[in-house]
Amino acid sequence: MAKVLVVTSGKGGVGKTTSTAALGAALAKAGQSVVLVDFDVGLRNLDLVMGAERRVVFDLINVIQGDANLAQALIKDKRVDTLSLLPASQTRDKDALTSEGVAKVIADLSKKFDWVICDSPAGIERGAQMAMHHADMAVIVTNPEVSSVRDSDRIIGMLDSTTEKAKAGEKMEKFLLITRYDPQRAARGDMLGTDDVLEILSIPLLGIIPESPDVLKASNVGAPVTIAEPESAPARAYTEAARRLMGEKVEVTIPTERKGLFDWLFKRRVA
């Protein structure tokens, strides 16, 4: 039976889609069969980040409405063959997500894959609720700043009250993924510290992803950073986070600033 994982945050622009793609690709590279489901109906992006935008024929809404079957809608990744994508519809809106339809799609995907990773839209409305409703576990993506932390707190409250698991009286497994962590700003103290974020949200830490141009570069070429730049700092952080998701015990490292000789020379010259 598959693990159904929702990647969510409440706030927009914190890195849900990037993290969905990077974690999914890392899990797939580790030999797991993974499907990424884009729940951002009307504002889909996961297909772009995965480089599959020119291969979309059918989407999640088509499957829900019975216009296509799953096999027709699933897009297999060309780089990692255990990785698939179920794109969202760009022309519809989130009202097209019916609870019965979503339940059936998730149940069908669970039979075929080890991991069903749902990329939640921002907000707390229907799209986000549908994405989290059937999840067994959740990754809450948070930037180290107050508005993101508060929105994540709100989402954790909803995960514990509105989901199928919560209604059955069970506890949902929740993990915190801190993204866009800037070691320089952290050192200067103009960013919320990791400890503060963990203290406020009080859920286990899955990983800390450093802010890096590699992430943006990877998105622009249509590849998850764990595939495009597997040796970069963010890719290594995502890979470690994926291993923790699989239950391995891996120590979380807080990214620190590494100054090379060139940085030092450059700084000198600027000064």
Binding site: V146, R150, D153, G157, M158, D160, I200, S202
Partner: protein, 231 residues
């Protein structure tokens, strides 16, 4: 003609039955009234809102103090819905506003007045085992609320009694709603957006800075909120 209603609209009617209490005064009336006062004292509010039938079958036209009986009952907040027995033509009751008595009804045995209403039962305490997250609102209008976790920024806890927070208070805590000025707020770490007791509130800016992030209790002294460090 358009727009006129040819038939009058129906009115809604339905049946409802109440248990009316029947009081049967006995002579001498001063003693009977004293006994009634004693009963009322033991069960305050027992007659509030209850329909009462006054049964004068044990009275005579010449019973002393009879003219003052009905006013005395009304003074005690007893609403006399009907009068049975006795006679409207007695001179002693000439000044009474004799209510139109409801007809029929069945006797349903003696009514015992509850005796323990005076001892107040303790309102229940609500215990929340985890943190109250942003956007969540706990309302407990009667008793105390105990939160074992934290109260997040954007969360709200409202209690009729005191609020006890074993984690940090970063959201709102409102104690003593419904007029309990003795309610207090306790927290392991004060970083609240707003605290209020019995309608008196303080925003984060107005709180005592020396208590920030410290174990604190908040209580009402007169009309101001006092912030006291907890040991």
């Amino acid at each position: 003609m358009s727009g006129t209603h040819s038939s009058p609209s129906r009115i809604r009617m339905s049946g409802r039955s109440f248990l009316a209490l029947t009081l049967t005064p006995e002579a001498p009336l001063t003693d009977w009234l004293a006994a009634l006062d004693h009963q009322i004292q033991r069960a305050a509010g027992f007659f509030t809102g209850k329909p009462v039938i006054l049964d004068l079958s044990l009275m005579q036209a010449s019973t002393p103090d009879l003219p003052y009986l009905l006013p005395a009952l009304q003074e005690r907040g007893i609403r006399v819905l009907g009068i049975e027995g006795g006679d409207k033509t007695w001179p002693a009751v000439a000044n009474w506003e004799w209510p139109e008595s409801p007809m029929g009804g069945r006797a349903s045995g003696p009514v015992t007045i509850p005796e323990n209403d005076m001892t107040p039962t303790l309102p229940p305490t609500l215990v929340v085992e985890e943190s109250v997250r942003s956007g969540q609102h706990i309302i407990w209008p009667d008793g105390d609320v105990v939160i074992l976790g934290a109260v997040s920024s954007g969360a709200e806890v409202t209690a009729g009694g005191s609020v006890h927070i074993y984690g940090a208070l970063r959201g709102r805590a409102i104690a003593g709603i419904g007029g309990n000025a003795d309610a207090r707020i306790f927290t392991r770490s004060l970083a609240a957006e707003l605290v209020a007791i019995d309608g008196f509130y303080a925003t984060a800016e107005e709180m005592d800075a020396k208590c920030t992030d410290k174990p604190t209790q908040v209580l009402l002294t007169g009309e101001t909120l006092a912030f006291k460090p907890l040991p």
